[in-house]
Symmetry: C2
Subunit: 235 residues, 2 copies
DNA sequence: CCTCATTTGTACGTATGTATC
DNA sequence: TGATACATACGTACAAATGAG
């Protein structure tokens, strides 16, 4: 097991505390000075953790005042960095495999250009349905290049987060990405999986996800009915 | 005139260089060491600028390798922090006022709760249409509390960014926010302004924007036809 | 209105670890 | 293997905003 950096440990501890309500919205976090003492760290280290909390929307900082708790970002946070599973963060959220991972040639990558190495390696393709509260929420199509992923197709992704899976099995971590958003009319297949009526408007997300492995990208297309839940993001 | 922090100056310089193509996608930026010498700064300062470029999607960093230029984020970047005008960044993008700023009582704020001070102060309400390439793209409804904004309704927002306007006139800067995304069917009014057909799917964004002034929020609702352009964001 | 303690913001310098080539 | 480049972490100093008195 690998040790997290110290600033990350502080980040995780505070994030958890906020998520559990041990710090309520409107509260002030302990001052940077206090946190330094509490964790036996220097101020730049603590500040890095706090910066991360700000950019994730958990707190807001004001000079001369302190760090104000905003609370855990609500809703379905697929717009943020975390994978869908951890972003949604509800125990009744689960994943059903529609189409098991299989090897294919690349045809296209949701409008994103792919590089030569990816093209040459072929594509691992699979489809999943994300279900919340007994209702289908996301239809999720994923493609990734078949580069250095031994036995990928034989594993079971049923209820593991893809991002966790890549991290633990292959030491690949997500570092960022870009996404394009469209409003479309659901087609027949999407209607069936998402249980929406004919012609219903749904969201389409095309995502190109960067990883710690240079030149290795995850391409993902998500269809989402927003009738019950809107997608939520912070910035 | 106020001096920007040094890390911000470096950020702006590099951002501009990337936007203008002086560093092309795939290029390596100068190393942190080089940038330190070039700008006569210490490494933490340069690193802060680079961190910002990473989180804005301009570059990607890899340990042992360097900072790889990704290029300027493309498309209509309303999902990012910048205001719409600067995010779109095209000279043929402009703003038409549909409804001039007027004072109203608060009724609701796009589903977000508002605080007592905001409720008490009343609401400045206005509507704008954003046009690109002669085609309407956004219908933008904005509400903000009438707190410390003398003469706001008498100014002309026609082609000024709201965020720039608040910054220069009132020293209010945007620090972050949250947004909710929905796919909806365009109603009659939206169809007329956005020039879409009956029943067309469009995007609805509800945004609550935090500012440097504690307790002062901007509430904004954006309707967007994605037929020609998709919304783009990085994460 | 001013002062002062507190708190965050900016910036420096240094050291060591680790990934890449 | 070594040189280079980024990652983590420490300690220090001063500036600027806030809020209490």
């Amino acid at each position: 097991m690998e040790e997290l950096p110290r600033y990350r440990q502080v980040y995780e501890a505070l994030r958890q505390a906020i998520s559990e309500g041990r710090y309520a919205p409107g509260d002030l976090l302990p001052s940077e000075h206090d946190l330094c003492q509490r964790y036996s760290l220097a101020r730049p280290t603590v500040r890095k953790a706090l910066d991360q909390l700000v950019s994730d929307g958990y707190i807001q900082k004001h000079q001369g005042k302190g760090s104000i708790v905003k609370g855990a970002p609500r809703g379905i946070g697929i717009l943020s960095l975390s994978g869908t599973t951890s972003a949604v963060g509800r125990p009744d959220f689960f994943t059903r495999i529609i189409l098991k991972p299989e090897l294919r040639p690349w045809t296209e990558a949701f409008g994103f250009p792919i590089n030569a190495a990816e093209q040459q390696a072929g594509c691992i393709y699979f489809e999943r349905l994300r279900v919340l509260d007994d209702a289908p929420v996301f239809l999720d199509i994923t493609m990734l290049p078949n580069i250095g992923l031994p036995n990928f197709t034989s594993y079971n992704l049923e209820n593991a987060s893809l991002f966790n899976f890549l991290r633990t099995q292959y030491q690949i971590v997500v570092t960022g990405g870009m996404q394009q958003l469209l409003a479309i009319r659901a087609d027949k297949r999407q209607r069936e999986y998402l249980h929406v009526k004919s012609g219903s408007p749904i969201l389409q997300l095309n995502r190109k996800i960067e990883t710690s492995r240079p030149g290795f990208h995850i391409y993902s297309q998500v269809f989402c009915s927003t009738r019950k839940y809107g997608l939520i993001g912070t910035f």
